[in-house]
């Protein structure tokens, strides 16, 4: 009888200090490891390689990956490994700032419009307008208007991405606003400021965090596309997009120029998306798996 119950009831592993609860979520764990690998390789890259990202060496151009040039060299003899690592670093920095600022902006807009119908109409129509244009086209247009500088890439991508965050925040905040506990807070004499920022804001965090990881991944992809098209990070500064563009010209002779930046884009985006999906399951109280607990095999 006892053995039988043991089979019926799922056995759950408990989290511990060494293995915190969120690592029990499979895609969260995998995403985190991939991202950790990418970040560590960026640090390792800048420490381990003596090569300058701009230092040309025409004698050794287009040489295949070897002991001194791990990812080979490009058509003017620059070290692809250090250039890819620099590009990854640039992508992560741009992605981080774009995500952080659009999250803050999206959160502010999304929360404020729930309490003012007039603002709701104005700001949400602006967001609709930004939504109507495909994001890559909008980004190209903004870059053309602002000029080709890394800082402008960030500004353009913020304008592309903050409406989607504002949307998510707004819809969640609208739902929370109708909950009884908000009415109960009003009955306690809480003013609108307190209700919005101290009670609605924490309740919109979990969809916001999930959306943010997707925006992070998407902003890295769009930045790479912009640079690939020549509208993003200006040459000769390496970014994953313009490295692939350079590689495209020599793809039959020097596959490493295209493949390595490509692999890193895939790793970053895959890592972020796995992390985001895992986070969604982890943060969703209705998710079927018990939070932080995974069935032991």
């Amino acid at each position: 009888m006892k053995a039988e119950t043991k089979n019926i009831l799922p056995v759950y592993r408990r989290s511990s200090f060494m293995k915190p609860a969120f690592l029990y979520n499979r895609s969260l764990r995998r995403g985190a490891f991939i991202l950790l690998f990418v970040v560590l390789s960026v640090f390792a890259g800048s420490l381990l390689t003596p090569h300058d990202i701009l230092g040309m060496d025409p004698v050794n151009r287009l040489s295949a990956p070897n002991g001194s040039h791990w990812f080979g060299t490009d058509n003017v003899g620059r070290d692809v490994f250090s250039r890819v690592m620099y590009g990854v670093r640039l992508s992560l920095i741009i992605g981080f700032f774009v995500t952080a600022i659009s999250a803050a902006l999206g959160l502010a807009v999304g929360l404020i419009v729930t309490y003012s119908k007039a603002l709701d109409h104005i700001l949400m129509r602006i967001c609709d307008g930004l939504f109507a244009i495909p994001s890559i086209l909008l980004a190209i247009a903004l870059m053309a208007a602002l000029g080709q500088k890394p800082i402008n890439v960030i500004i353009a991508l913020i304008l592309v991405f903050f409406p989607s965050i504002a949307r998510v925040v707004r819809s969640q905040a609208m739902m929370i606003k109708e909950k009884v506990f908000i009415e109960s807070l009003r009955a306690q004499g809480a003013n609108a400021f307190r209700i919005i920022f101290l009670h609605i804001a924490p309740n919109v965090m979990s969809p916001l965090i999930v959306q943010v990881t997707h925006v992070f991944a998407a902003s890295i992809l769009i930045e790479a596309s912009l640079s690939f098209l020549g509208a993003g990070i200006p040459e000769p500064l390496p970014s994953l997009g313009n490295l692939m563009y350079d590689g495209k010209l020599a793809i039959y002779n020097a596959w490493w120029m295209t493949v390595f930046p490509g692999v890193f884009i895939v790793l970053i985006v895959l890592g972020l998306n796995l992390f985001g999906d895992g986070l969604r399951d982890y943060l969703d109280p209705k998710s079927k798996k018990l939070n932080g607990l995974e069935k032991a095999k």
Binding site: K117, K179, V180, F181, E183, S184, L185, R186, A187, Q188, G189, A190, N191, R194, L198, H199, P202, N203, M205
Partner: protein, 336 residues
């Protein structure tokens, strides 16, 4: 005290509340008047949709500002709440008038600990330090009968039971020692044993603090036990209002009669069919021309269908909105 001679706490005069409906406004509350003294418990009774909760929410003006229209007077210690600005109103809410809601499951913020929420309720109206607020909240938790309050302070709403959550709501409502407490069906979502505990708790604090309480319910048992006077509502109107003893010994309105008779009695024949009031509540969008209860009343006359009955006040203060209550009483006397 500066207000009234008899310590009149709340006086509601000809309160009307309307919401915009398709085509025309829908009058949800029609000419509701009552008053409440310190230490009194007013029960508002009626079936769902009769405007009990709207009356409560109107007193605190919790309804959607942009669409709801109020008229009449709501005087708290002589101060008309309907004339206050939004800002002044937030100083009344939670401080002078507190409210407890029906569903304790959803009336607490799920992402904050209960302790933090009680402390916040204190700090909204009182200028005390965080540490002092925490001390007071733990003290409040202890006083509402929650065991090991220090540990409970750190728990989230989903970690405690429904009855305990309602206790926490009471603690929050009482944190600023309000002079009026509105309890909107505080026990509907709880089981019977917990109901009694919660109502006894409210009743204990009501006596200790000499609060006025408005208890909204549809349970006549609760009314008989805890209220000092009762208003019966039907379709947005008060149809009968009197003290609790008179209501049970001498109910005048056929609707009140129906409600009281439909409660099953312990010594009754169990095979007998339970009494019920025939028909259903008409829609507020199409209120009948005459008496609103006419379509379901067994004593209906031509006058009831044509003329709206007025709220008549008898010598003993008993208020009744019915044209024929005298004839009905005689007819019933013959029956018995």
């Amino acid at each position: 005290m500066t207000y009234g001679k008899e310590k009149e706490l709340l006086r509601v005069e000809n309160l009307k509340v309307s919401f915009p409906g398709p085509g025309k406004d829908i009058q949800v509350i029609e000419d509701v008047s009552f008053n409440l003294h310190k230490g009194e418990v007013l029960g508002i009774v009626g079936e769902s949709g009769c405007g009990k909760s709207v009356t409560a929410e109107a007193i605190l003006q919790l309804l959607d500002k942009d669409t709801t229209r109020y008229s009449g007077k709501i005087l708290l210690k002589g101060l008309d709440l309907l004339e206050l600005s939004d800002r002044e109103m937030t100083k009344i809410r939670g401080n002078e008038i507190s409210m407890i809601f029906q569903d304790p499951m959803s009336s607490l913020n799920p992402v904050q600990t209960i302790g933090k929420q009680i402390a916040e309720a204190i700090r909204i109206h009182q200028d005390v330090s965080k540490r002092e607020a925490k001390k007071r909240s733990i003290d409040l938790l202890r006083r509402i009968g929650i065991p090991s309050p220090e540990e409970r302070y750190k728990q989230y709403p989903h970690e405690i039971s429904g009855g305990m959550r309602q206790r926490v709501m009471i603690a929050m409502a009482l944190s600023c020692l309000p002079s009026l407490l509105i309890a909107d069906e505080p026990t509907t979502a709880l089981d019977v044993t917990i109901q009694a505990q919660i109502l006894n708790l409210i009743s204990k604090f009501q006596k200790d603090l000499q609060m006025g309480v408005i208890l909204i319910t549809h349970d006549f048992g609760v009314v008989a036990n805890y209220c000092t006077k009762v208003a019966v509502m039907y379709l947005g109107q008060i149809i009968e209002q009197t003290d609790v003893n008179t209501l049970f010994s001498n109910p005048l309105h056929p609707y009140t009669n129906g409600l009281i008779n439909s409660i099953p009695k312990l010594d009754e024949d169990r095979q007998k069919e339970l009494l019920s009031i025939k028909g259903a509540v008409p829609s507020l969008a199409q209120t009948p021309k005459g008496c609103r209860f006419a379509s379901r009343c067994e004593f209906v006359t031509d006058r009831c269908l044509e003329e709206v009955p007025t709220l008549e006040t008898l010598k003993n203060g008993h208020q009744i909105r019915c044209w024929n209550y005298n004839d009905i009483r005689k007819a019933e006397a013959v029956y018995v």
